[in-house]
Symmetry: C2
């Protein structure tokens, strides 16, 4: 029996609605599997927690998370209570950084039954490898002077190590896929960091002669996501560019509500964190209509991470069977609730179990 200790952090807004939904699904999967158990512990860290305690998590928060196998996070942020940079840097970005979750992977592909906003979406299936620990997301910088002379300076820090690591991760991934890596750059406009990025990309690519490469400026690349997403396989991007591209990727899939993601600790020293692409969605909080698929698909990425790719595959098939049958939340044009969609996925998974199809595990 393999037991995975999972720290649930529902966080803010719809995070509190979709994390319980996906947790339920994970429990069912554990029953199907037979040899895999999850032990969930829930942490209330969020903007509401901040109001009470003056911080997003306790002093020893990281200490308390560190021995879990993984973190399963919903969404962080509630502008009405806490400024975004305070809430995010105090929880989400802090965990990503302190736990050396240096890679963020986010697939985007066409899902049966979910209508893309594109007129003619060819069968795209891409994955963005986002550098997740440095780059444009940096606490280095500050302000100087007052009033009309005020200047804010923001440093972006690109290390050879971090840049190369993200790129190698992308190349290794491409080996198992369609053998193409696209580098997201902006070396025509961003003077120091992006020519450096290009240089490292060129060097790393020499170690992978079997992989095709190209480089696209982020402006053109964003446009290509809309006009020709099918031309991409693996895309490697800086922290900010990866952030933008993956929301775009989610949009062309049909909704940010279905897009999954994983923050990977690659050195095995700390837990990885699984959190969907979407945010806390204040506009639909409490209505019970948040799409649970992003969080559930994110659970699949957690399964994949532990080598349970077969179980993960079954889950994704069930998700697609549900969307194909039109069991959809409002964000993708349906009338179902979070609970409605979750229950349906759950029921179908249990049916697989009862048919005895779990023999294969």
């Amino acid at each position: 029996m393999k037991t995975l200790k999972i720290a649930n952090i529902p966080g803010d807004g719809i995070g509190k609605e979709v994390v319980p939904a996906a947790t339920e699904i994970l429990k069912t999967l554990s029953d199907i599997h037979g040899g895999l158990r999850f032990e969930f512990t829930s942490f209330p860290w969020s903007c509401e927690y901040y109001l009470e305690h003056g911080k997003m998590m306790p002093e020893d928060g990281l200490e308390r998370l560190k021995d879990f196998d993984s973190i399963f996070l919903g969404a962080v942020g509630n502008l009405k209570l806490v400024p975004d940079h305070v809430s995010l840097w105090g929880l989400l970005i802090k965990i990503r950084r302190e736990f050396e979750q240096v890679i963020n992977i986010r697939p985007a592909k066409v899902i049966d039954g979910v209508r893309s906003p594109l007129l003619n979406p060819k069968d795209f299936d891409l994955i963005v490898v986002r550098e997740n620990s440095e780059g444009e997301y940096s606490s280095v910088g500050g302000k100087i002077f007052q009033g009309e002379d005020e200047i804010a300076i923001q440093n972006a820090i690109f290390s050879r190590k971090g840049t190369e690591r993200a790129m190698r991760y992308a190349f290794e991934l491409a080996k198992k896929r369609r053998k193409h890596v696209t580098s997201a750059t902006k070396s025509n406009g961003i003077f120091h960091s992006m020519p450096f990025w290009d240089h490292v990309f060129e060097e790393v690519s020499k170690d992978y002669p079997e992989i095709n490469t190209d480089s696209q400026h982020i402006d053109a690349l964003s446009a290509f996501f809309v006009t020709r997403p099918e031309r991409f396989d693996v895309i490697v991007a800086s922290n900010l560019f990866g952030d933008i591209l993956t929301d775009l990727g989610a949009a062309i899939m049909g909704s940010v509500g279905i897009a999954p993601a994983a923050n990977i600790n690659v050195n095995g020293k700390f837990p990885s964190m699984f959190e969907p692409v979407h945010g806390s969605a204040p506009d639909i909080v409490g209505k019970g209509i948040a799409n649970p698929i992003g969080q559930i698909w994110t659970a699949k990425m957690m399964l994949d991470h532990y080598g349970e790719e077969e179980l993960g595959g079954i889950l994704l098939n069930v998700i697609e069977s549900v969307t194909r049958d039109g069991i959809l939340t409002p964000d993708i044009g349906g009338k179902y609730t979070t609970k409605g969609v979750t229950d349906e996925i759950n029921t179908r998974l249990k049916a697989i179990d009862k048919k005895g199809n779990n023999a294969e595990f």
Copy 2:
């Protein structure tokens, strides 16, 4: 008789094909108008020029441009000859900066006969006001250490003055439009510059109580450009975010080949520069199929800039009549050449003239 002295810089690639096309159209417009004359002087500054002279423009290049009324530029960049950051910072970005063209305005709207890649493009009509002189495009920074310890540092500089100026420009523009300004931010991830940006936005917006505002993180905003472009009126964005959003805007219009832009010098000390959104497009150079509409529509923005909005309006109507009739280059699904489309626009403009419709000028 009003005479405008225009410095033509065709630049690289298809810039050399579309600038002459648009210049021809401007000459025709001058005939229609009767009271407006253009005097064009052409400068060969480009990557080829660099190969010969070791720089993108002569030492006294800016001096030679400074007394023109406007600069009419095609595109800069040819990676095969010169690294992008060298060519761009040596010509395009240099002119934007030295001539204090601190605002870049770029409209994106649905054009008759040009098919958007969106399934159901509602009638969007938005305009991005891009801060054009500072922010993420900064030459401050550099590299330190060697080999695996190497680090590149890139500074982004946001001044109160520059930020506020871009925002006020956006609010003033919104007054004449649908009275809504959206701020493109990323204050949840970019720690120093973006909270500063938000703060300035909040302050400036107080001076415009009649204008509605909202703030969107760039990742979500990029997604909204694909899913709900019709919800935007004026968007104010930093240099980099404006760059990304306007390529996206061009993509949802149907092609980057039709999107116009203007780099505005707001203090009247130096010429403004009119250049389309698209680049030098090395893949189609020399084929005679570059879409001239981006450059021709950019000429319309130049006319607007000199108060010739009526003439500009006629030009845009003719452009739309041509696309409506299916006279399109391959990038927007047609079979016409650059010359074919240009000739048609020219012929229709001349017909207006002959019918005596120029009386109104």
